[in-house]
Symmetry: C2
Subunit: 422 residues, 2 copies
């Protein structure tokens, strides 16, 4: 057995033992633990910020871009925000034990489906330290033991965060193995995603390459997250002021995340009115436009930076201040375009026409379909889940923002008084 | 591209086109189609029974055991029962469009989670022809296009059934590709389970080897079904008459299926009273007993056939008239035994003690946990689902009997009036 496999096997068995205790913990104990861990993290601010400093120094000398350094950086204020997220989790309802459905059968059997924890959840992610604490907290609240594999760029930070939480759990008499950290190389990822029978679920969160590797190589059940080639379609019957605000917000509010829009489709009936305004505003905000013929002319007139759009552009999740823009002859053409290029994440229509909105919401196959609102609302926090462990773009088990409920399975309880099959 | 991959690619694209129409079909149209297909199958009884005769003749000359020939055999009565199952499906509620949850957010956005079809579902199963029609009917009702890969032993029968249904769909103006049959060899299975992006879900249904192959090699999301090493635990506080009936029914009512019990654990406090009765009855029914020391003595005294139980016996799903029997010193020992050997399918306790029942239902990690009832009730029909496409033994998406609801995903619909993120 290779070292990584052995390490994952040991971690998996320790996590199983922890998960069996977590599954039976009453909500009050879990909430008290979350509040206590929040205090412990704040009390350890100096240690955490110092560890983070090591990661930042390593990143800087390795030429890490400023935007990534910013994502990695922890300040006392950011540590406080991370701790606060655990307190917010304590205030949310406990999904475990919720009765999903049930009935009394003709033979008198009482059949009840209740939520139970998944068990042991593996999480593979990149260099955002807040994910480490969010995942541990969501796991604890939903009764799951978490095995975390964060990005190597955040190794020292993650070690300090996880050690602080493990020490806090031990002080409370709870299993430290509620949260474990794998710090080995790529082979740890391979060992984790092939540890069938030890790991109940793996959630990859990060770039398209990471997710592709996990979903194709894993023998453990996976929830695919995140690639969002999201479209905003401006219908013939759109309110054009609303359309302008939604298109610009969807693209520019936070271009580096999966619910940012990548493509803008404009119905030809409103293109002559709408394109000059929207392209001037997008161009003025610094968005590089990838434009079809009509949009190119409008971009030229508006003085916005543009390039002719290619098939590859339409298929690309830029995650940057770039947007593909084109004119479509009809709602049908927009639906076809989205079916061809979309990644089933978030798709938006702007329209005042009820029939168009009904067709768009019925026919677009995506986790979230939005009418007259920014694509940026696809988010666990925005949806009122209080937290988020990722956004599922698959259809099995969870679709869209995932939080506590999505970290649970169910169990059927059958109560009888001697029933047998006849 | 290999032939099988090409065949699956073509089938997958045809299924996608069909699924896009099915997703929008109103319930009335789907129910009318189910009733019409039921009539078409009955009208084609001669053709179906003749095709089945070819499979039976091939099986007989290949030395197929009688029990398998019986599973494969179709009579006019069995064809009528298969057709009736489609009519029963028509009477069930449509899962598509059901609102799962929703809310109005503080910013006025209306957020609604609704059930939608999975899309394209692959199903791999063995030689039971009724599964072919059940799967097609469940797919149609839930708005999914089905790609079926049945056992080669039933190839002629399945072809006749699927052709009859495809002709019926065409007559109704519905897409024939609502149901397709792959009749190639093993390589068709491999092509199907690696057609990521074309197939939304694969459900394997059959023996442990088939399921193991699919779950470890698939890159398409899978729902694992079926292996059931189910236990009946007779607690110290059991009503022993009830315990006798439940133990015997769980083992002998239909020993070849996954919800049949394979092991009997008896608390030592009642072992001296209970073992002689239960082993005499099991032995008398023709069950070969695999017994620990105390149970061996009781089996000897009862004149029942027995062998000393091995670790391998405890881990085996016999699917036959065999049962492992042992005495445990406590409820804890029973829970540990089930955690070690169980397959998370169905586990039963017989007890009059509320505390024991509460611990057992809380601590046993299984799809179905039963108190004072036979393990044989783990079944979609028995649970009132009206149909069943398999019994999931995994935790992701579906756990326990799966029917129409388990063949759906969800979609979030967000309705706004111009909201943007600030």
């Amino acid at each position: 057995m290779q070292t990584s496999q052995l390490r994952v096997a040991v971690a998996g068995k320790a996590a199983l033992a922890a998960s069996r205790r977590l599954a039976l913990l009453p909500r009050a104990d879990k909430d008290a633990a979350l509040l206590s861990l929040a205090d412990a993290l704040e009390a350890a601010t100096d240690r955490i910020v110092a560890a983070n400093g090591k990661d930042l120094a390593r990143g800087e000398s390795a030429g890490m871009p400023d935007s990534l350094q910013d994502r990695l950086r922890l300040t006392p204020e950011r540590v406080a925000a991370i701790a606060q997220a655990l307190r917010d989790l304590a205030a949310l309802p406990d999904p475990v034990g919720e009765v999903v459905r049930g009935s009394t059968l003709a033979n008198g059997l009482q059949v009840t489906q209740v939520r139970v924890p998944m068990g042991v959840v593996g999480m593979i992610y990149e260099a955002r330290p807040n994910v480490t604490v969010d995942a541990a907290g969501l796991g604890l609240k939903s009764g799951n033991a978490m095995i975390l594999r964060g990005g190597s760029a955040a190794a020292s930070t993650n070690a300090a965060l996880v050690e602080t939480m493990r020490e806090g759990l031990t002080r409370l008499g709870l299993p430290a193995d509620t949260v474990q950290l794998l710090n080995g190389g790529r082979e740890d990822v391979t060992a984790l995603i092939t540890a069938r029978g030890l790991i109940d679920l793996v959630i990859p969160r990060g770039g398209a390459d990471l997710i592709q590797t996990v979903v194709t190589q894993s023998t453990v059940p996976v929830i695919e997250t995140g690639v969002g080639n999201c479209h905003v379609y401006i219908d013939a019957a759109a309110d054009l002021d609303m359309a302008l605000a939604i298109a610009v917000n969807s693209k520019t509010h936070r271009p580096s995340v999966c619910n940012a829009a990548e493509s803008l489709l404009v119905h030809q009936k409103v293109a002559a009115d709408f394109l000059p305004k929207v392209l001037a505003e997008l161009g003025g905000a610094g968005v590089l436009l990838h434009t079809d013929e009509q949009a190119s002319a409008a971009a030229e007139a508006a003085g916005a930076a543009y390039e002719p759009v290619t098939d590859e552009d339409w298929a690309t999740e830029h995650l940057a201040m770039e947007m593909s823009v084109g004119v479509v002859p009809s709602l049908d053409a927009a639906l076809d375009h989205i079916a061809l290029y979309g990644t089933q994440h978030t798709e938006a229509i702007v329209t005042q026409d009820r029939a168009a909105a009904r067709r768009f919401t019925a026919e677009v196959d995506a986790a979230v379909v939005t009418v007259n609102a920014s694509t940026r609302f696809t988010d666990g926090g925005e949806f009122g889940f209080g937290a988020e462990i990722g956004i599922s773009t698959q259809k099995l088990h969870a679709r869209g923002p995932m939080a506590l409920q999505e970290l649970t399975s169910t169990k059927w309880i059958v109560n009888g008084d001697g029933q047998i099959r006849v």
